[in-house]
Each structure stands twice: as C-alpha cells, then as structure tokens.
Assembly symmetry: C3
Homo-oligomer: 244 residues x 3
Amino acid sequence: MFKATIDAELFKDAVDIVSVLVDESIFSTDEEVIISKAVEPANAAMVILEMKKNAFDIYESDSHELGIDLKRLSTVLDMAQRGDMVELELEDHKLKIVMGGLRYHLSLLDPSTIRKIPKVPQIQLPAKVVVDGSTIQRAIKAASTVGSYVALGVEDESFYIETEGDTDKLRFVLGKDELIDLQGDDVRSLFSLDYLRSITRSRAFGRGIVTLEIGIDYPIKISFSFADDKIRALYIVAPRVEAV
Amino acid sequence: MFKATIDAELFKDAVDIVSVLVDESIFSTDEEVIISKAVEPANAAMVILEMKKNAFDIYESDSHELGIDLKRLSTVLDMAQRGDMVELELEDHKLKIVMGGLRYHLSLLDPSTIRKIPKVPQIQLPAKVVVDGSTIQRAIKAASTVGSYVALGVEDESFYIETEGDTDKLRFVLGKDELIDLQGDDVRSLFSLDYLRSITRSRAFGRGIVTLEIGIDYPIKISFSFADDKIRALYIVAPRVEAV
Amino acid sequence: MFKATIDAELFKDAVDIVSVLVDESIFSTDEEVIISKAVEPANAAMVILEMKKNAFDIYESDSHELGIDLKRLSTVLDMAQRGDMVELELEDHKLKIVMGGLRYHLSLLDPSTIRKIPKVPQIQLPAKVVVDGSTIQRAIKAASTVGSYVALGVEDESFYIETEGDTDKLRFVLGKDELIDLQGDDVRSLFSLDYLRSITRSRAFGRGIVTLEIGIDYPIKISFSFADDKIRALYIVAPRVEAV
C-alpha cells in the first residue's frame, strides 16, 4: 500500500532532481521516506533523492520498489496548474496520479530492468564551499560555452571555476565575501561539463543554497535541500584526470 | 465590390479559426455576411466561420467568392500592432490590405482550385456540454501527450475526456459544478486527437465559452462565438469507430 | 598597451553593429578612438563602427590592430548581468575580459587573415530621411516575408519601402508627419533584403534615430549613433539593378 498527497510543483521539483541525470529510476518507499538512487549510464555521476514523510500532506506506505519512467511522470506533472495538489496511489500495479479533475494511470517499470542502485561511496573531502545555486548555475552555463571540462577549486581563500577551450580560457572567482561559507584546504578537481550542466539546470538547484565538497583529483559532492529540509538532493560526480 | 474595415486582431482571430484546419479557403461575401466553409483533406473535420456585417466598422459588399491563401493572409495580419485597424478592399482581382502606412496586395486564388465546399450535415445530437474553451484546450493538450485518440463523453452527470496510450491511461472529468451547462443523455464518441488539437489551439477558442454536442459513436459539433456573437465558429469532426 | 572599462551592455550593443554583418573584424585602437571597418564576403555591404574614448569609463591605448572573433566576444558579453562593467586589457597577445568575478582570455586573430579593410567610398546622396529605427526594423521584417529585394525611395514628400514577391506586393509609406526629417529629391534604389534584414536587427538600431541617405540606383548610407553620440554606426549597402 502506497498513498500520498503533495503540492504538485514541489513533487515536480523533486522528480527533476533525478530526471536531469537518468530516464528511469526506482523510488523505494517505506513508512518514513521515499528514496531514489540512480547512476547515469557511464557510471560517472550518481544522484540520491530523499523525500521525508512530512514533505507530504498525506503519506501512508509499506515498503515498495516503484520503477518510474521519469519522462512520463514529468509530462503528467507538467499538466498541473499552480497550487494544484497531486494524489499518488499504488493501484493494480500502476501509479494512479490525480490532480483536479485529471486522473492518470502510470504504468510502472519492472525494477529488475532498471540499472542497479549503486553502493554510495563514503568519502570525506577536505574543502567545503556553500554558495547560491543560481551563481553556480550561471558559472557552469558560461563555462560550457568555452570548453568540455571544468576545474573546481579553492585557492587564496577563494572558490574558482575554470575552463579552457582550444584557444580561450575562462576563470570565475568568488571570494570569501561572495560565498555563504568556505572551509578547508586548497583543492582542485576536474569534471566533465556535461554532468555539471545537467545537475545544475533544475529549478530547485537554481533556487537553493548549495554545498560543494571538493578534494584533490577526487569526486565532488554537491548537495542541497528544500521544503524546509524535508526534500534532500545529493549528487556525486567522478573526477577527470587532468592532462599534464 | 468588396470593402471592409475591422480591428486587425479580431480579423486575425477569425482567420485563424479556418487556418488551424486548412491552408486555403473560399471566403464567400454578400451584403450581410462573410462565410467560409472548409473541409480538411481527409474529409474528417469541417469548419464554418461566419462574420456578420456588424463585426466590421465599415462593410460594403456584393456577392464574391474570394480564394484566400490563409498562411499569407495570416503573415500580413501578424504585421499589425495592437489597436491597428485593417482595411480590406477587392482591387484588380487582388485583396488590398491596408494597416497604418502598410499596403499589401494579396493575390487571390482561383476558387475552382480549392477543395469543394462540402454540404454541412444536419445532425441532432443527444448531449450538450458548455464549458470554458481554455479547460478543453488544456485537457486536449494533456491527452495528446498520452495517445492518438480521445473519447469524449457524458456519464454520471459529468463530462469526461479519456485517452489510452500503449501503457498509460488518462481521464479528465468535469462534474456539473465545473461546467457552465450539461444537458441530455449519456454518450461517448471517439475522435482523432490530431483534429481536436488543431481546433482547440486557436486564441479565440481558448478565450471563449465552447459548446460541445456529442452523440454515441457519432460526429461531434464544437461551436463558439466572439465579438458579441458577431463572429461564429462551428467545427464538425467525424468519429472513429472504437476498437472492441 | 590597451586598457579600457565600459558598461557591458553598451559594449555588447557596439560589437553587435559589426557582428550582424561579419564574423571577424579588426578593431583598430589609438589614443582617441576604436574604429572597426568591415565588409561582408560578397562586397555588397560595409560597416564602420566608431567608439570614442569618452564612451569608456577608463580608456588608455596605443595604436593596435586587434583581430576579433565577434561570435566569441558576444558569447562572453552575454554572460554579463545588467549593470555589469567590463574591463578589457591586452595581455600576452590575448584580450583579457573581466566582468565581476569572471575573467576571460580571448585569443586574438592574426589581422592579416581577416578580409582587408575596404576604402570607404565618398558619396553624396540626393535624399535624406530621418526616422525611428524601430519603424524601419518593422517594415524590413514585414518586407522579408514577401520578397527578396526591397526598394527604398522618396516620392510625393513621403518615404516608402516596397517589395514584390511572386504574387503579392507590399508597400509601406511614411508621410512627412510620420518622419523626423525628409529632405532632397525624389529617389529610388533597390537592395537585397538579406543585408537590410541583418543591419536592422541589432538592438541599438531598433532603439535609435536612423538617418537614411538614398540616391537613384545608387548605394544607400544608413547611420545612427548612441551613448550621446560617443558610439557611431555607418552602413553602406550597394544597390541591385532593378529588372525592367
């Protein structure tokens, strides 16, 4: 049994956190929480979405593994009008979605056909940067007009995003004053812009306060929460080895 | 002789009623009214536009059959700025269109080359639904993300729009309270979404109060009017036989 | 040495004056002014951009020939936010561009690889029309939906823009009252719409007061200025010989 009611726009924002990276995902529900973990096909970027029971107006659930076609779910949620509530219910192995006069029966995917949920690596990272998501969004968008890879780093009490194209070079620097928080050591890691572009493009990312945890040629952790911390997003992206 | 002056935006809205379904059409004028009847190539959907003399600021006309390339006419009308009046005049077998300092001579098509105007079937339908056009617009748009056909029907004092895709199912229900009027028997007919998508996408449709007349596996009549009833639109769409 | 600071949006508007016509251009700087002259590949349209020293907040320069990839420069300037200042500096044979926390190193092109700067023809033209750029923008856009060539002319104390397609004809007339100024003789010259479409589409053109100097089957001069006359644009377009 699974039955839940939530603001449609909020649910859309949560689903998008996963859909920017993968097309299908398993939503694991239990009495307290819905968690969706997914890894993109090249195994270089991973997402963990967590929606606590109290993010919902109504929430009752046993343990289920719901295989979701994220594009179809997004299309349904796009039909919502501002202020609409969405009722979700597991019914005859389909997810029934009700918004206003609209009733949608979404077929569920067989969880065994979806890429295995990866083990989330436990990593400690030496530097932490806290900053407006919109600033990162803008910098990554700018960087992707120049090159294919981007270095994120900390140096001289500043956070930087740097990229090099065939001929041009772009560096975006934020001093301690322009950041919400900056802690730890000098670090630098290189990432594919494709993944960062995807991750940063969701509406919830642009609205939130984002924490970046960075190491030296090591994976990056990118996290933020919304709806009073009741919905949490964590991305882990593998580094590229920098050409010498 | 044909000479008429009308608000450019209003005329654009009227022309669009026909142009959503066909590319060329005959505008038949006489002393009292302009009527354009057209049927789309597969003979499954028909439109009748009626513009009364008093929808115009100036209107003088003998009987004419004007063969109009609707795309070209729309392109000209798109040049209008809010509040512009458009003057239309038959001159040297062309339609002269004047808006502000702009003068356009639109070639007329030979009426004999345009699909024959069909005889409009006289049909009585057992159920009638009156509803905001914008609601139908939204439901049809939603339905077309799911399937290719849509059933419109009345059941339990409610109007519904229903569609089934390969795996998913969508049902949009409006109770008596959410409708402006609902009369008659329980009915259900199936239609191609292509035609309903075209018909419902015009600006005038979205702004108007729409009357749907529905039968059991029978054509649907969709009508609305604007400019104080001086401009009227009627669509008739043939049903699809439902697979059992 | 070249070092300059200017409002980013203003600089973008200036660069666009050249970039609507060509992809690369030489910016010639000296102590007093930056001038960029360019001719499009078919030699039928030419642009001269002049930015005076006092259009800049800071301006110090020796004589330089800076080969600019205009698309790349525009992409960088697009990253500006309203109110941003942009600092430009010649550094290690690159143009360093700083806006807020963003630092961009733009490779310069070898000036010898860029199309030779043409000699600007000294021509006197018998008629002059002064008019809002937005009016010309709108008329040229309308004309380009009809034909490939457009005649600009003066007749009966009015300025007109006229075009003929395969079947249709458009004429846009502005009387003396609707113009800022009209002087000189009756004239008429025919031009390719491609060039006029390009020239008229920049934001600065649409905002400015534009002077058109026209002859009989002769080149047209199109000029305007902005930023209190500190930035000036001049286009010269060769005529098409009219088919008889």
